[in-house]
Symmetry: C2
């Protein structure tokens, strides 16, 4: 690893972003614990601003820009929560934001970006088109790219969710986070290393997009196949996140879409909160590996709550 | 009014039930405030034990029983949240509970009662059958009836939700609660009188079951017609709750089922929490009367989150 994420950096980021984010609640449920066979502490980042932990990393990275950089604004490509998080951070600081989104992105997500004053550039729904469109936008505007996960200031911002959880629910045996590009998982792993070293960090990943599982096995980055309803986790792990995860995360549990929907449904029904499929992946992983977690104190980061209600209804039908 | 609910009684009830209930969070949302044109503070009783404020009143009333009474157990008739709340309170205190439920009650609600160790007695789905079945059960068992709303200890327990809200969100101009039988509304009105006298309490009621609206107009109890999706509010106001509401509540806003579903959908989408149709009635009332609440600080008690996901999906389709 080249860059080193320090304990001090996470602490300072937390102070820096505090007034712009919610300290989200930690929820527990006896009936969920009964089903799972362990004590689960849910860190509710679905109740975060923009409905996802992404508000943390985007805010931290944007706040870390120089005055000179801020003048030109910020840019990113994202079909999801990071897009809104960047537009929101920019709006709060009075900067321009340029968001490249696949033309297939649900209208509701585009509206979210527009509501935060972001300017949208549509492109074809593939990574090459996203990257080339973003390059053009940056060339034209001079804006600074803030990548959704392959960016240390973003990872440091995401680490603050786990830091808060350790403060509110100490002595966790395990902490689970979902893994897509690996920004949240990297931040979570560093937060555990510094703030709760006895806690073992485990990743939950959809079986239909299990690139991190395969990458940790092979020791090099494997491409995601991306066939899962957990649409926040379709991305392949990044070249800045993979080394961190390779060093700090010992286990990835993969779960099927069926297991994800069942876990999501339990969260909706028992906790009375709305989580998106991606957010249900770690809980699905616990339910799949009950023996491993039996009787333990288990933290879970519920990553987000942005799901189209009609779509969710179909999943539950 | 014969019986007098005192400030001291509410304070003591709060201490009494504290360790058995959640201090539920108060949620705010900039995007909801933008839509509503006022500052709304949502008291999330949907995140309460058993998914509803009913846990408060049931716990308080059960704790107030004498040792002699406790030996025989508790009984009630309810098709909804009060049933689970009584079964839970009884289980916590090691008592028996006997719950009369209409045979048409959704399976999930029956399961909830059974999970808390309650014994279910099925009856025909009408008030006469419910009352006669309950009378038989009480004759047989000697259990004490704990009525869902027409019971002062229940009302005093429900008052603690508003008390907490005033502590966490002071200086509210308005506080809205839904009204069915009137237990929550009575408790809320007393809590305002004692803990935040400058706050005006307003009731939200479904137009399809607007007996409280009509009763306040005529000065006597009018029967509910009971045609609304807000299934927690079908009941006619009680003879113990009506005098309280008549004295302390000056306004009832009625809303259509369409307005209820729209409000419910906004809460799901923006707050990322699950509320049942009844719980969305006060927010629907605010959205219907924007001029009245413009620029004000408005508290809303989100009364519960027990809704069948398939049913909710159909409402949003």
């Amino acid at each position: 690893m080249g860059f080193m994420i320090t304990k001090q950096a996470i602490g300072e980021a937390h102070e820096r972003i505090k007034k712009y984010i919610h300290r989200t609640p930690v929820m527990t449920s006896k009936s969920i614990d009964d089903v799972a066979g362990c004590s689960i502490f849910f860190k509710c980042e679905n109740l975060q601003n923009v409905g996802a932990f992404k508000a943390r990393g985007a805010m931290n990275a944007t706040l870390q820009l120089t005055e000179e950089q801020r003048k030109k604004g910020v840019a990113t490509h994202s079909s999801g929560n990071h897009a809104q998080a960047i537009a929101r951070a920019a709006q709060i600081l009075g900067l321009k934001s340029y968001i490249v989104m696949p033309r297939t992105t649900p209208q509701i997500k585009k509206k979210g970006v527009i509501a935060y004053g972001g300017e949208i550039f549509e492109c074809e729904p593939n990574l090459a088109a996203r990257e080339s469109t973003l390059a053009e936008v940056i060339k034209k505007t001079g804006a600074v790219e803030i990548h959704p996960f392959n960016n240390y200031e973003v990872m440091i911002g995401q680490a603050t969710a786990a830091k808060e959880l350790f403060e509110d629910a100490p002595n966790l045996d395990y902490l689970l986070a979902p893994v897509g590009g690996g920004g949240l998982l990297s931040g979570t792993a560093y937060a555990a290393k510094y703030f709760s070293p006895s806690t073992v960090v485990v990743a939950g990943e959809p079986a239909g997009s299990d690139d991190t599982f395969r990458s940790l096995k092979s020791g090099k980055i494997e491409q995601a196949q991306s066939q899962t309803i957990a649409d926040g986790l379709l991305t392949t792990i990044g070249d800045k996140t993979f080394p961190i995860i390779h060093e700090l995360v010992k286990e990835v549990i993969t779960v099927s879409d069926e297991e994800i929907v069942a876990a999501m449904r339990l969260i909706w029904e028992r906790l009375k909160i709305i989580v998106e499929p991606s957010a249900a992946v770690p809980f699905a992983s616990v339910l799949k590996s009950k023996e491993k977690f039996k009787g333990k104190r288990v933290g879970i980061i519920l990553s987000g709550g942005n799901v189209d209600l009609e779509r969710a209804a179909k999943l539950f039908a």
